[in-house]
Symmetry: C2
Subunit: 205 residues, 2 copies
């Protein structure tokens, strides 16, 4: 109770840092702007996080921690593959509607510094996740439940169609000549569309 302010400020800083880093990236973000957004003094950033790099790391880790559990949870259920696909596209696109900067942010920073993935990601995604999904798909192929397809390609296809439209929004909305509202509508349709498109592609007959 005594040190309520302390905790509060730290959260305010992290919240502001998320906003700025996710929109402008590590290189484009300015400590001053983060401080202004948090409504506190610039010195406080260093008091709580020592350096820009450490503050960035906290933001990046929090972004990963927000995304990873959603994937893992779906993959680990015992649903039929088709239902897993429906759950994934629906939940994932909904999630990104609320956190639209996260996918671009993560992928962009990972391209700048590919080694970051080893520190943060390996702990979250242990081998079993991808192995389990791989096995489920391979078994379905053998049983004749779906057309032959490499599990890797199926996964890449689903993830690509779910995430890319968020990253390429400025490009796609211009090419397709959609305004803000129309593009959002298009994205919402994809919650169902992507799943049915994928299922149509792999189901027999």
């Amino acid at each position: 109770m005594i040190k309520k302010k302390e905790n509060n400020t730290e959260k305010q800083i992290l919240e502001a840092a998320k906003n700025i880093f996710q929109q402008k990236g590590m290189d484009g973000a300015r400590m001053q702007e983060i401080a202004d957004t948090a409504g506190i003094n610039k010195s406080m950033l260093h008091y709580y996080y020592r350096s820009k790099q450490k503050l960035f790391d906290a933001v990046f880790k929090s972004a990963i921690n927000l995304m990873a559990p959603k994937i893992i949870k779906i993959v680990e259920t015992d649903e039929h593959l088709f239902d897993k696909i429906r759950s994934f596209t629906n939940k994932y696109i909904s999630f990104m509607n609320k956190h639209s900067f996260i996918p671009t942010f993560i992928i962009q920073e990972l391209n700048r510094n590919p080694d970051m993935i080893k520190e943060v990601f390996i702990s979250k995604f242990d081998d079993s996740i991808s192995e389990k999904l791989k096995k489920q798909i391979e078994e379905l192929v053998e049983k004749g439940g779906i057309k032959p397809i490499k599990p890797e390609h199926l996964l890449i296809n689903i993830v690509s169609m779910s995430i890319f439209p968020f990253m390429a929004k400025p490009l796609l909305s211009a090419v397709l000549q959609k305004n803000e509202k129309q593009y959002k509508q298009l994205i919402n349709e994809r919650k169902m569309h992507v799943a049915e498109f994928v299922i149509d592609a792999i189901k027999i007959k």
Copy 2:
């Protein structure tokens, strides 16, 4: 003939600027590093391009000019839709194998400054391109040649599956546990795979 050097230096600068800007982005790029890469003095950058922003603009424009014609050319042919799809995924993925930084670069910078698209893009993609493709798809749907699908979604699906794997390489290769060579192999398979996957999804029967 007299001023051969002049032209040469300008090209060297642009070439070096492409390398640095496309890898590090506007914010992460340093004029000094561009000069070093070009093997010339930093002052020369300003002599030829006045400012970092103007040099960046030249690089960005050149990236757009490299990508856009490939899309337009394919869309404008009179091939059957299925063959257009095959041409697109094949040629596009081949292209990005050679220029792997371009898609991330364009999309990243467009997110930072969405207004850039109006200056560079509108002139390249006039309305007729997207309209023509839209019409071809709608006609095929009506004739019963393919399942009902919004042209917008079909376009987004194809582009997503072609481009995203390049942008998310650090992420995907880690999740799928592929080394450099294996991931490249996977990408190459996609030249054919994406087209057949899409065709399977939309064809009747």
